[in-house]
Each structure stands twice: as C-alpha cells, then as structure tokens.
C-alpha cells in the first residue's frame, strides 16, 4: 500500500491540477465540514506517529492545544530536513507539495489557527520553488486565504527559508529562527504547545506527518490503521543511501521486513559486497550490524527492540570493508560543525570528540581515547538543551560498542585495519622514526 508514491512522477505531477486528479483536497473539504475537535480525534484515532524522528503521536500533540482560549494558535511545518542521510521530505515537497500543504491546512483548521508556517531548509531549491508554487496555486483556488472553500475558515501560510543550520530542524530552535532570533533551542518546560512561536501555543509537525493527514481524513482512521502495524500504523518514507545498489526514496508499510527491503527492494549492496551495518534513521540513530537486523521489521517497536530507532527514515547502508573509525570521525565532524554552541556539554564535547577521532585517524591515538570518547558521550546524554548532544553520543558509542576492535587496532598500529598490507613490507617498520615517541603520528600522517 502506497500513500505517497502511488503515481508516476512527471514534469507536472506536482501541480494542483494533477493532485486533484489524485483526489487532492477532498480531505480538506471533508475536514472543513467537521468540527476542529473531531478532526483532531480522527488523527488521534488513526494513531499517526510523527515522522520527524521522535515518533510522538501527532493526534496527542494536537489534542494538548486548548481550543477557544483566545490565543492565536500556530502550526509549523518542519521542512528543515537536515539529518544526514535523510532526504524523503525533499521528495515529498518536490513531488507532492500539495499533499503536505493540504495536511497543514487541515492541521491549522483543527487547531483553530489563522496563520501557519513552513520552515524549509535553505538548500532545498526545487522543493522550495515547488512549495511556493503550491501555495500560490492554493491561494488562487481558494484553498488558502480568506474564507477557504466558502466555509468561513481563513488561513495564511508563510513560507520561510532557513539559512542552513542543522539545529534549526529542532522544533524550538526552528521557532527561534522564525522569530528572527539566533536558531538556538529552548529549554522545556514550557512545552511548545503551551508557549511556542511568539510565546503562543504552537504545533510543529514534520512534512511527512502532515502529508499523512489528508490520507487519514480521506480514508478514515479505521482504514488507515489497516496499513502498517497496530502500534505503527501507516507507511514510512525511507531514503536509503550509502553502499546500497539502488539508493533512493522508498515508501514501505510499517512492519515490512528489513532484510527484504535491503536485499530485494534496494538490490543489496553495491558490487556484491556484504552488508556491514545499517544506520537506520539518520546518523543520530544507533547503528545496527547486519546480523542485528535479521528478523527485525521496519516499525518503531521492532527497531527499538533491536536497540535503535526508525528515526527520520534516513537509512545509510555500510558495506564490509568500511573503516568505522573514519566513519565515526566524519560523523563527529558533522556534529561539531552543527552544534549551535549554546549549551556547554555539546558546545565543548562535540569539538573534543572530533579532535580525539581526528587524532586517532591521523595515527596519534592513545589507548585511553576510547574511554574518553565514551565518557564524553555519557556526559552529553540527557544533559543538553536539545538532543544534538545525545545523538552525537549515541552515534559514537554505538560505533564503539560494535567495532571497538577497529579503534584498538587503529590506535595500536596508527592506521586503519582496512588500509593496505600491514604485515608485509611495512615501509614504516624500518623507518628511523619507528622508535620515536612520535612514530604513531608520523605513520598516520604519511598514510
């Protein structure tokens, strides 16, 4: 069952005309005939989980906002998809922008919002243009603006282009950025549904989450629940990349076999190599080795039981022969670059971890570095304002848990176990620098 990828992508498939041929905006018409509370109840009954990574129930999030309290309510579409390996929201915005927009309008109606916001990643050029066109078309067709479809409900949508900071995808940082401030996350409490954008109740939903809303309204919660698993209803867009034979964006029903997805749908690994591990839902989720995904299904409960998460659906397949030390260094370079610099553990910890990993990669690793990396990860766990610090820690400690021997080898030998011939004709074995206390560093630098 496909909700999103059930049409051929053509040059015009993203337009309002073609979206309407695929029953577009029927859900909106239906929703506007319901009371806002009933719309929320329908979404809650469908069991829709957030598709941004945390998988928080969307209906429950909507239900927290008190209607009729005299406050403006805002719905914000989080289109700042910045998780490494994740690009499924981009596909949705490029190919079915109206679907997410329809979900946003329905969500705003359910929450009695007069203004809604789309915070889109600055680098997404085509997605931005498609979303802007979709908004323009919706205004022209009376689907946005004053008196939508003659029902008396009015809504304006602001399309805001982010400046390319990973942490602005974090809901509270996104709202700070929308307010014109530095994109720094806020402490909770208060929750954003109590004091969000401009200190007013705000719901932040991922693009795919909102794109699911028209499906739920059109099919009804009961039909929606027939897809997926009881605890993870519906489908999940997965963007898979790495050493996979057929990288790209896929839509799978929750509960789908993981191994089937990788070895059949995605064609297995490139060049017939063996799968070493999977980073399941963006680099912030803990990796799972090839053996660990056997028998696991693509849904939240199964992934958690296996020790990881579905996350943002940004899956990275890693083939045998990949140096995990260097992979850890690359991942950590990203976190260091993207740490916003607000809170102490993340601001200092990210750079510290990267420096240690870089030093190991350069051949200057010390045996105590592994414990120190664990220690920094642990010190970031639950102590930072947002989850960037936690995520970096999880990413690093999961790699260490699984591939500690690679780190130990690298530190002992000053090079990766996947680099060249290390036992025969080692050019550095007879080097005059071999006995130098800096030998490791020299070897690393040369290699």
């Amino acid at each position: 069952m496909k909700f999103f990828m059930n049409f051929p992508v053509t040059e015009t498939s993203h337009t309002l005309v073609e979206y309407r041929t695929r029953l577009g905006y029927q859900a909106l018409e239906k929703a506007l005939r319901m009371t806002p509370t009933d719309v929320t109840k329908e979404v809650a009954a469908a069991g829709l989980l957030g598709h941004g990574g945390a998988a928080f129930p969307a209906g429950r999030k909507w239900g927290v906002v008190k209607l009729g309290d005299g406050e403006p309510h805002y719905v914000c579409m989080n289109a700042d998809e910045g998780e490494p390996g994740t690009f499924k929201d981009r596909w949705l915005m490029e190919c079915v922008p109206h679907m997410a927009l329809e979900g946003l309008i329905i969500g705003s109606y359910a929450l009695e919002g007069r203004h809604a916001f789309i915070y889109i990643r600055g680098e997404f050029d085509l997605a931005h243009r498609r979303m802007a066109e979709a908004i323009e078309e919706a205004y022209a067709a009376g689907l946005l603006g004053e008196n939508i479809l003659g029902t008396g409900y009015s809504l304006d949508v602001v399309l805001y282009r982010g400046a390319g900071s990973y942490v602005c995808g974090e809901a509270s940082a996104m709202l700070a950025s929308l307010e014109g401030k530095k994109g720094w996350p806020r402490n909770r409490p208060p929750r954003l549904t109590v004091k969000g954008l401009y200190q007013k109740p705000t719901v932040v939903n991922n693009v795919e989450t909102l794109a699911n809303v028209p499906v739920i309204l059109r099919l009804g919660a009961t039909e929606f629940r027939k897809v997926g698993t009881p605890k993870s209803p519906g489908t999940q867009m997965i963007s898979i990349s790495g050493h996979i034979a057929k990288p790209g964006v896929y839509e799978v029903e929750y509960g789908y076999s993981w191994t089937k997805f990788i070895y059949e749908d995605c064609g297995g690994m490139q060049n017939g190599k063996a799968l070493k591990c999977i980073i399941p839902g963006g680099v912030s989720t803990k990796l799972l080795s090839a053996s660990e995904i056997e028998g696991v299904t693509l849904d939240h409960n199964s992934a958690v039981a296996a020790g990881s998460q579905v996350g943002s659906g940004g899956m990275i397949a890693i083939a045998e022969g990949t140096c995990m030390v260097r992979l850890a260094a690359v991942i950590q370079r990203f976190y260091h670059h993207e740490s916003c610099g607000q809170c102490t553990p993340c601001r200092q910890g990210m750079g510290w971890m990267e420096r240690i990993l870089n030093r190991i990669v350069a051949g200057g690793g010390r045996p105590e570095d592994i414990d120190q990396l664990y220690k920094i990860s642990e010190a970031n766990d639950g102590t930072t304002i947002c989850s960037l610090g936690d995520s970096a820690g999880y990413a690093c400690s999961a790699i260490l848990d699984h591939y500690r021997e690679e780190f130990e080898y690298y530190i002992t030998n000053g090079r990766s176990m996947y680099d060249g011939n290390l036992t025969v004709d080692d050019p550095f074995a007879t080097s005059p620098f071999a006995t130098s206390p800096f030998a490791n560093a020299l070897v690393g630098a040369a290699s």
Partner: protein, 493 residues
C-alpha cells in the same frame, strides 16, 4: 482592608533539598527556591533578573522519585512542585558537575595569574569546589581572539568566554541597546557587537563586566590598573543624579598601600560597582557612576584663602565667622550635594538667621543622557530633595534671592557664578575643588568630598541611603558639617 482588595496569598509548596524540608512560593524555580532558603546552587548563566537560557548546565540537580529512576534537570528552569525531593550533592550530580567543569575548562586558558577576574571568578571558585581535577584533554586548546574591544570601555577575551550569554541578555533585556549577540556555532561561537548597534552608546554597558562570571569581559581601565585582591570596597552612593544609586567604591586596601610610588595612588578610586539595593537601583548602575573617579579626582582645593592669599585654616574660619556675625543681610546658597547631616548642621547653625536658597551644583554635561527608562534621572544632584525640604530653590532670576543690599553671601559647593553676587557684598566660598572663583572670594575654605566623610543622601523617591568614608581627610581640609557649627558660633573646628 477589605477582602476584595487583599492581595491573593501566594500558594506555598513543601519540598526538600538534600533531605532538608523547605517551602517555596508556587511558580518559583528550584534555583530561586533554594536561594530563598539559603541554599546556593552553582550557576554561571542564571541571573535573577535575566531570562533563563539554561546554557551552562552546572546547576543540574537530581529529583528523587518514589517510583522509577531519579531524573536530572537544570535547577534554573525547573519549577518546584509539591513534595519534590531535590538532591544537589548526590554522586550522580557530583559526576555531572565534574563533567561540566571539564567541558567549561576544556578550551579555557589557564591564565588566572594574569587574569583580572582572578579572585572574583566563578569558574575559579567552582573548579576548586566541584572539580579540582586536571584536564582530561590531551589535545591542544582551541584558540580565539585574545583582545577584542567590544567598546572603548570593554575588552573581550574570547578564550575565556564560556558563552553564558549574560552580557547579550543584559543588552537585550535590561539596557535595551541590543548591542551584543553571538556569532558562529559550536566551540567557535563568539560574542560580538551587533552590526547595527554601537556598544559605546549603551550607557549601562559596564554592567556586563560585573555580570561576566569569568574574565572574558574586562574594563579596559581596570585591567591595566589594579588587581582585585589589593582592593577593598566601601559602600557609597552615586552622586551623579537624584536616583542616588547604591555603589561600592573600590580602593587600595590599607595593607597594600604603596610606599615607594606616588602616595596619591593610595587614595584613588580604582573602580565602582553597583551595590544591590532593590529600592533604588536594583543590581545596576550607569556608566556615569563607573566614572566617578574622574569626577572626584579633579584638582582639589586644599588651601584656605583670604582674598586670594593663602591663610591658615583656622584663620580663614575665624574670618568667615566674623563676616557672618557682622552680616546684616546675609544669604546662603545651599549645596544640593551636601549630605543630610550637613544640611541639618547648616540648618541648625543658620536656619533662622540666614535665608538660604538651594542651587543645582551640577547640570547635565554636553552629550550626557538626561533621563532614560531605567535609572538615569534629569536632576544631576544627589540630595536636592533633602535640601529643598529645608530651603527653597534658587530662583531663576538670582537677584530675587540676592537683593542689592545683601552684604554677605555664603556659597556652599559648586555651580554658582560669583558674578551674580551684588556688588559690595562679601563672599564666603566653601568648596572642594579648584576653581578660579575660589581666589576671588573674601574667604575661601576647602571642604571634604563625599569619599572623605560619612553621611546619607535622600533620593528623589525619599529613600535615604548611607555612604561611608574611604579616604582620610587632609588636615588643611574641613568637614562642612563641623564647619557650619564653627561659623555660627565663631569657634574653631
């Protein structure tokens, strides 16, 4: 008072910190409630009058729960709930504090020996208290700009900055200049002036020096002038305007007096900081208060004069007393910089016999902020309210106060032009500073300044605040309070 106008009683919550039962006002955060109960939770970025960003993470506390694992959060952002059991010294919290200190000191230079904040640095204090361990990092520290002038008055050392953002929040939330912000990300983040603002124009800018918990923001003047352990603070009042902000005047400690250098260095004001006074100035003072040294350390008048000729102090007092005793139509021009005690002494001495008029000793200087939203008031004299309670203000047309038959004019303090004195009238001047008018007076007697005497000022709201002497008065200078009695009685001081 009827029930209708009675303020609603604040709900009190029972909770405990480290096993000690306490009460908190509903809505207080853990750090606020702890403080109210005398428990200090470490903090860098939290400030009672600024917003709560929760940046530093040193105030992490543990919450015990009957069921389930304990949980951890920052005390500065966590509201107290009824029955909450807070632990501030558990093993987990000790570990978290040590970890945080490791992070904070990771790239912080170990330059306490040359840092002007040394002795007052929270980072230094917490390192001893919470961590005390050597750095676990074996990698070089990252370097940043060592001397970045944020304004003409304030130097930023980026390497010492721990990004608590107190300075940024102060300019956004208190002074309103919005002159500072944070640029870059991660451990490259820096405090920088906003592109469309000038920190020089923020008349409260120096407060960020006090706010900075480490040695990142330093006074360009003090950083080359003194170290904190040589100094002591004397409680005083800023005379810069009728607000009368409570301040601390910092000067060299007695045991650190300089013998070999210029002895005048022992009686200089090294810095001024606000002294918390919720009724008057809260926690802040403006930059004019910080610059009191320039005001007080102008060239002093230290020699008594009789028609421009130096005379002995007692001779000058005797001559002035003689003039006052012989005067038939004397008039006094009363200082609005005199203390309550001096004004009372003056009134006791001359109240019924000498008509007095209160003058403004100081007017706003060119370019000075006249009045603002926070502290600065338009009247630039600290005790005009108390003076006006005793005497009327000097009229705009001075001749209304000084008729042509005035025979003696007693001028107390600065800000009065001798040319306004009717011809033929004798002039007695009492002043602390060197002015050309001193030598044209019939008698000039040098009097002490605020930093040389004790007293009280009454501010525009009627709040009375004391000030204390920091420096000794020279033998050739007299306290006005004693002088008035002597002048009236014709006796020596």
């Amino acid at each position: 008072m009827s029930d209708a106008v009675m303020p609603a009683a604040k709900k009190m919550l029972d909770f405990a910190i480290d096993g000690v039962p306490m009460q908190a006002v509903d809505g207080q955060t853990v750090i606020q409630a702890a403080r109210a109960n005398g428990v200090e939770i470490p903090h860098f970025c939290w400030h009672p009058q600024l917003s709560v960003p929760g940046n530093c993470r040193i105030c992490m506390v543990e919450i015990e729960q009957d069921s389930g694992d304990p949980w951890f959060d920052i005390a500065c952002n966590m509201p107290v709930t009824a029955g909450m059991r807070v632990l501030t010294k558990s093993e987990k919290i000790k570990t978290l504090n040590q970890d945080t200190m490791q992070f904070i000191t990771l790239n912080h230079p170990v330059d306490c020996g040359v840092c002007n904040k040394s002795g007052e640095c929270l980072l230094q204090d917490y390192h001893y208290e919470l961590n005390g361990a050597a750095s676990k990092s074996r990698d070089p520290k990252t370097h940043a700009t060592k001397f970045f002038p944020l304004s003409d008055r304030i130097m930023l050392d980026n390497e010492r900055c721990i990004m608590c953002t107190l300075c940024v929040r102060f300019t956004n939330e208190v002074s309103g200049s919005k002159a500072l912000g944070a640029v870059n990300r991660g451990d490259h983040a820096l405090i920088r002036p906003a592109e469309d603002a000038d920190f020089n124009l923020d008349v409260y800018s120096d407060n960020v020096i006090d706010l900075c918990p480490v040695g990142a923001l330093l006074s360009t003047e003090l950083m080359t002038h003194a170290r904190v352990w040589y100094l002591q603070a004397t409680k005083s009042v800023c005379p810069g305007c009728e607000r009368g902000c409570s301040i601390d005047v910092w000067h060299r400690k007695h045991e650190w007096k300089l013998n070999a250098l210029d002895p005048r260095l022992n009686t200089t004001i090294d810095r001024i900081t606000p002294h918390e006074n919720p009724e008057v100035n809260g926690l802040w003072v403006c930059n004019k208060a910080r610059d009191l040294a320039q005001l007080f350390e102008r060239p002093r008048a230290e020699q008594s004069l009789q028609r421009g000729a130096p005379v002995d102090l007692s001779a000058a007092i005797a001559a002035a007393a003689k003039l006052m005793a012989a005067a038939k139509k004397p008039v006094a021009i009363v200082s609005s910089w005199g203390s309550n005690e001096e004004l009372a002494a003056f009134h006791a001495a001359f109240g019924t016999t000498v008509p007095g008029f209160v003058k403004a000793d100081h007017l706003p200087l060119p370019g000075e902020v006249i009045e603002d939203h926070l502290l600065i008031k338009p009247d630039k004299n600290p005790n005009r309210k108390a003076a006006l309670a005793l005497y009327p203000a000097l009229p705009e047309r001075v001749s209304d106060a000084l008729p042509a038959d005035t025979d003696v004019v007693l001028v107390w303090g600065e800000g009065f032009d001798s040319a306004l004195v009717p011809s033929g009238a004798k002039v007695i001047r009492l002043d602390s500073y060197a002015h050309a008018a001193n030598s044209t007076a019939d008698v000039f007697i040098p009097i002490s300044v605020q930093t040389e005497r004790n007293g009280h000022y009454t501010n525009f709201k009627g709040v009375v605040t004391p000030f204390e002497a920091c420096f000794p008065v020279k033998p050739s200078i007299v306290h006005a309070e004693a002088l008035f009695t002597a002048l009236a009685a014709g006796t020596p001081v």
